[in-house]
Amino acid sequence: MPSVGTLAFDEFGRPVLILKGQDSKKRLFGIEAHKSHILAGKAVADTLKTSLGPRGMDKCMVSPDGDITITNDGATILSMMHVENEIGKLLVQLSKSQDDEIGDGTTGVVVLAGALLEQAEALLDKGIHPIRIADGYELAAKIALDHLEKISETYPLDLKKLDPLINTAMTTLGSKIVNRCQRQMAEIAVNAILNVADMERRDVNFELIKVQGKVGGRLEDTLLVKGVVVDKTFSHPQMPKQVQNAKIAILTCPFEPPKPKTKHKLDITTVEDYNKLREYEKEKFTEMIKSIKDSGANLVICQWGFDDEANHLLLSHELPAVRWVGGPEIELIAIATGGRIVPRFQELTAEKLGFAGRIRELDFGTTGDHMLCIEECKKSNTCTIFVRGGNKMVVEEAKRALHDALCVVRNLVRDNRIVYGGGACEIACAIEVAKEANKIPTIEQYAIRAFADALESVPLALAENSGFSPIKTVSDIKSQQIAQKNPRLGVDCLNKGINDMKSQSVIETLIGKRQQISLATQLVRMILKIDDIRLPGESED
C-alpha cells in the first residue's frame, strides 16, 4: 500500500497526487525518526555540557551583525545559536522556560534532557516501545522528585542573618565570569531582592529592580543603588551637579505650549497676530516655570524634551532639570521618590512631588559620560544595580549572572527549601531511583534504571569540567553517599578537599531542581512520542 509522502499510482501507472507538493516534502518515519531526534537532542546538549559548573567554560557567540556575546548561561547560548532543527528548537525552549520560571539551572536542564535521550536510544535498540520508555521516565521522575523532597532542608529565612541567602546566590554565581567578586555580587543580589520583596505575599516584583550596565571601571566597582540610576544628565551644563533634599516634579508633558490633538491650523494674517503668538508662548513658559516654583519643587524630571528657550528659563530660575527620561524610568523614579506623575502643569501641587535625599551626577573616567543617581528616596523599595566592567561583553555577562542570582534569591523567598548542589542531589536521586527500579514488575523497569543513569550525567559533567576523572569521582561519591547515608556529598569542583556540600555551602533551591527534572522528563516524553516528521521541500538541504 502506498504511504503518503511517496507517490501513489493508479491502475494505469499514472502518479496520483495526494498531498500538495508531496514529491518535494521530506519525511522521516518510525525508528529512523526517533534516531534523528535523539541525535539532534544530544548534539545540542553536548554543546552545553562544558558550560556546567564552576569550572565550566564560556561560549563566544557572534551574531550576524557581528555582535559578540560571551556567556555560559545555557538559555542565552541556545537562543543565540539559532538552532534550525525542530527537536533542537524544543530544547532551546526547554531552557528558556527554565529561565522564565526559575532563572537558573538552564544548562543543567538541557544536559539532563540530552542524557535522557541518549539513554532512550539504547532502550530503543533493545526494542522497547518509545511510549513505555517515556512512561518509565515519568515514573522515575516521580520517585526522584519524592526523594528530592525528602532530602531537602528548610532554610532559615531570617532578614537579619543574610548569610544563608548569600551562600545560595554564590553557588549560582560560582559558574559565571563574575566569580572573581562572587561574594560582593551575591550580597548585592540578596540586598536588592530583600529591598523589593513583599514578604507577606512571598513575592518579588522584578520590575522594581533595574540592572544598569556601563563599560569602564572594574567589576568590583559594581554597586547597588537604593534608588534609581538614569542614563541622563542635567539639561544644562551650568546646572548644579548635585541636589540635596530634592523635591522632584515628575512631568509627562512637554515644556512647550500645549497642543490640541485634533488637527489644527492657526492662520496668522497680521504682524500683530504674530506678536500675540509670541507673547502667548512666552507667557506660557513663564506660567509653567511659575507653577513648578509655586509647587515648591527644586528639580524637574521630564519625559519629553524642551527647547533651549525653556532650558534657559529653567536655569535662570534655578531649576535643575532632566529631559527625555523614558517611560519605565519615569515610573521607577515616581515609585522610588513617592511622587506622582503629573500629566499637566495645572495639576502640579506640592503633594505630588517626589522626594529624594540626594541626587547627583556620576562621572565616568575620561569618557565624559554622566549618569544621574537618585538616592535616599522616600520609599526605597526600588533599587538599581549598577554593573561596571572592563568591556561590553563582561558587563553583559555580569548582568546575566546577576539576573540568575536575583532569580535564585527570589525563589528562596518564595519557597525556602533547598537541596545541595555540586551534583549531590542528583547522585542521591540516582541511587534512590535505581533502588526503586528493581521493585517495578514491568518493562518500565529498564527505563527507570536508565533514568538513574541519566541523572548522573550532571555530576559526571561537573567532574569532567573540573578536570577529574569523571567516572571515578562519581562512583567514589556514590559509594560514600550510600556508606555514610549522606545525601549531601557532591563533586568537589573547587578542590577544597571536602565533598560535603553543606560545609562548602553549595546550595540550590528545591523548586529549581524539581523544575529541571520534571521539565526535562516531560519534554523527552514529547520527543519520544513523535514517530513521523514532515518537512517542507525548501529546507531539504
Partner: protein
C-alpha cells in the same frame, strides 16, 4: 472521417470508470496511513513543519490532516469528515478516518469483482442504520441525579480521551480540571466561556484552573506600577471607551484665527477626557477594564486615585469577565453614578499575580461564575499547544457526556460488539448484500487491531481472544493496553460517550459511500485555485 470535437479545455484531466473508484480508494487509504499510528494510548505523535517553518507536534487526527495539505479530491473527503468530527464532538477524529478507509478497503474487492457501487452503497447504509440502533440499545446511561457520581463518570470519560495524548500520565489531574471547568458553566455549556491561557515554563502539574477569569497583563503606560494590584470586592467597570487624549473626530481640522482660542481647545480636549475619568472615579469604581486603549494620562489619573486599570483587553477576556463578575460592557460613562450598580461587576478578589515570566490579572470568587480559565504550563511552546488541543478534546467529550448521558466502553470494545452484531445479522440476509455487510462488519475490527499494532502487540492473537469473548456475549471486552491482554473495559472505566461513536460511524460510512459513488473526476488545468476545483470534482456525483 469524423472531425474531432473538443468539449473540454485543453489539458483537462478526466478519468472515469471502475479504475477511478479504485484509485480513489487507494488515495484514501494513503491518507489513513498517515495517521494510523496516532491511535490509542500507545499512539505516536507527528511533527509537521509548514512552509513558514512553524512546527506542530500533534496526536490529533484532524490537526494532522489539516496540516498535511491534502489535494487529492477524494482524499479530501476524509479530511473533511475528520474536521466535522472535530467540530461536532471534538474527539475521535483519528478513528473516523481509519474507519472510513477501512470500509473502503473491505469493499474494494467487490468493486474489483464488478459489483455495482450502488449496491455496495445501499448495503453500507443499511448496516450503518443497524449499527447506530445497536449502539443506542447497548449504551449505558449516566445517572444524572447524583452530582458526585456524575462527576466521577465524567472524569472517567475525560480520562479515556486523554489517555492517548501527551499528558496521559497526568490524565487524572487534567480530567478533574476539565470536568470542574465544564461543570462551572451554565446549561448551554458554551465553549468560549472556558478560557485557556498558555504560559511557558513550569511543569505540567503547575497548571491550574481558575474559577473566574484570568488574563495576561495588558500593555501598560507609565504609572501602572503605582497602581494598587489587589482589591477585595472591587467594583469593576467594563468599558468600550478609549481613555486617551486624542482627536475626538478623525479627519477634523480646526482653523483658529486667534491665539486665545488655542488654549481653549487644548482645555476642551483635556476636559473631555477628565470628565470621563472623573465620572468613573465618582461612581466608586476600583478596577477599570477597557477593550480600547487606556492612555498614560488616564493610567496616572487612576494611579493617583487608588484605582486599577487595564486597556486593550482582549474581547473574549472582557466578555468572560462580564460573565463571571456581572455588570455590562458600556460604551459611555455618561449617567454613571453610585446608584447604577447593575452596570458594574464585582468579585471577591482581584489580584495581579506573576506566573512564570508573565503577569496575570486574576478575578476570583465571582458571584456568577459561569466561566472558568485554565492556565497551562509546560516546557515548550509546541508542548503547551498540544496540551491545549488535548484538553480541547477532553472538554468537548465532557460537554457531550453532560448533554447526552449515554456511554459505551472504549478500547475497541464497542467496535467488536458492533462487528459481531453485524456479522450475525448478515447471515440472515439473502443476496449480494450479505457479503458486503459481513465485510463492513470486519471493517470495525480495524480499531482494536490498530490499538494492538500501535502498542506492539500481536493483533491477530488479541483479536481472536476478543472475538471469542464477544461470542460469549461479553459485550464490553476490549484491548487492555497495560496488561497486553483483553479485559472488561466497562469495568476498568475506559468510557466514551455513545454520541461520539454514533457520529464517527455515520460520518465514516457516509464518506465511504460518497467516495464509492464517484465514477468520474474532471480536473480542470490550473486556472483558478486548486481547492475550488477539488470541491467541484467532489460535487459531481
Amino acid at each position: 472521417m469524423k472531425p474531432m470535437i473538443v468539449i473540454l479545455k485543453e489539458g483537462t484531466d478526466s478519468s472515469q470508470g471502475k479504475s477511478q473508484v479504485l484509485s480513489n480508494i487507494s488515495a484514501c487509504q494513503a491518507v489513513a496511513e498517515a495517521i494510523r499510528t496516532t491511535l490509542g494510548p500507545r499512539g505516536m505523535d507527528k511533527l509537521i513543519v509548514d512552509k513558514r517553518g512553524k512546527a506542530t507536534i500533534s496526536n490529533d487526527g484532524a490537526t494532522i490532516l489539516k496540516l498535511l495539505e491534502v489535494v487529492h479530491p477524494a482524499a479530501r473527503t476524509l479530511v473533511d469528515i475528520a474536521k466535522s468530527q472535530d467540530a461536532e464532538v471534538g474527539d475521535g477524529t483519528t478513528s473516523v478516518v481509519l474507519l472510513a478507509a477501512e470500509i473502503l478497503k473491505s469493499t474494494r474487492t467487490f468493486i474489483e469483482d464488478g459489483m455495482h457501487p450502488t449496491i455496495v452503497i445501499r448495503a453500507v447504509r443499511k448496516a450503518t442504520a443497524l449499527v447506530t440502533e445497536k449502539i443506542r440499545e447497548i449504551s449505558i446511561n449516566i445517572k444524572k441525579d447524583d452530582a458526585k457520581e456524575q462527576k466521577l463518570l465524567l472524569e472517567k470519560c475525560a480520562q479515556t480521551t486523554l489517555n492517548s495524548k501527551l499528558i496521559a500520565r497526568q490524565r487524572e489531574f487534567f480530567a478533574k480540571m476539565v470536568v470542574d471547568a465544564v461543570l462551572m458553566l451554565d446549561d448551554l455549556l458554551p465553549l468560549n466561556m472556558i478560557g485557556i491561557k498558555k504560559v511557558t515554563g513550569g511543569s505540567l502539574e503547575e497548571s491550574r484552573l481558575v474559577a473566574g477569569v484570568a488574563f495576561k497583563k495588558t500593555f501598560s503606560y507609565a504609572g501602572f506600577e503605582m497602581q494598587q494590584k489587589k482589591y477585595s470586592n472591587p467594583k469593576i467597570a467594563l468599558l468600550n471607551i478609549e481613555l486617551e487624549l486624542k482627536a475626538e473626530r478623525d479627519n477634523a481640522e480646526l482653523r483658529l484665527d486667534n491665539v486665545a482660542e488655542y488654549q481653549k481647545i487644548v482645555d476642551a480636549e483635556w476636559t473631555i477626557l477628565y470628565d470621563k475619568l472623573e465620572k468613573l472615579h465618582r461612581a466608586g469604581v476600583n478596577v477599570v477594564l477597557s477593550k480600547l486603549p487606556i492612555g498614560d494620562v488616564a493610567t496616572q489619573y487612576f494611579a493617583d486615585r487608588e484605582m486599577f486599570c487595564a486597556g486593550r483587553v482582549q474581547d473574549d477576556d472582557l466578555k468572560r469577565t462580564q460573565k463571571a463578575c456581572g455588570g455590562a460592557i458600556v460604551t459611555t460613562v455618561e449617567n454613571l453614578d453610585e446608584k447604577s450598580h447593575q452596570i458594574f461587576g464585582t468579585c471577591d478578589l482581584f489580584e495581579e499575580i506573576q506566573i512564570g515570566s508573565e503577569r496575570y490579572n486574576f478575578f476570583t470568587g465571582c458571584p456568577r461564575a459561569k466561566t472558568a480559565t485554565m492556565i497551562l504550563r509546560g516546557g515548550a511552546e509546541q508542548f503547551i499547544d498540544e496540551v491545549e488541543r488535548s484538553l480541547h478534546d477532553a472538554i468537548m467529550i465532557v460537554r457531550r457526556a453532560v448533554k447526552n448521558d449515554a456511554i459505551v466502553a472504549g478500547g475497541g470494545a464497542i467496535e467488536m460488539a458492533l462487528s459481531r452484531t453485524l456479522r450475525e445479522y448478515s447471515r440472515t440476509v439473502a443476496g449480494k448484500e450479505q457479503m458486503i455487510i459481513a465485510a463492513y462488519a470486519k471493517a470495525f475490527e480495524i480499531i482494536p487491531r490498530q490499538l494492538c499494532e500501535n502498542a506492539g502487540f500481536d493483533a491477530t492473537n488479541i483479536l481472536n481472544k476478543l472475538r471469542q469473548k464477544h461470542a460469549e456475549n461479553n459485550i464490553w471486552f476490549g484491548v487492555d493496553i497495560t496488561r497486553e491482554d483483553v479485559s472488561d473495559n466497562y469495568a476498568s472505566a475506559v468510557w466514551e460517550p455513545a454520541i461520539v461513536k454514533i457520529n464517527a460511524i455515520t460520518a465514516a460510512s457516509e464518506a465511504a459511500c460518497l467516495i464509492l459513488s464517484i465514477d468520474e473526476t474532471v480536473k480542470v488545468p490550473k486556472s483558478s485555485s486548486e481547492i475550488s476545483n477539488a470541491a467541484k470534482a467532489m460535487n459531481m456525483d
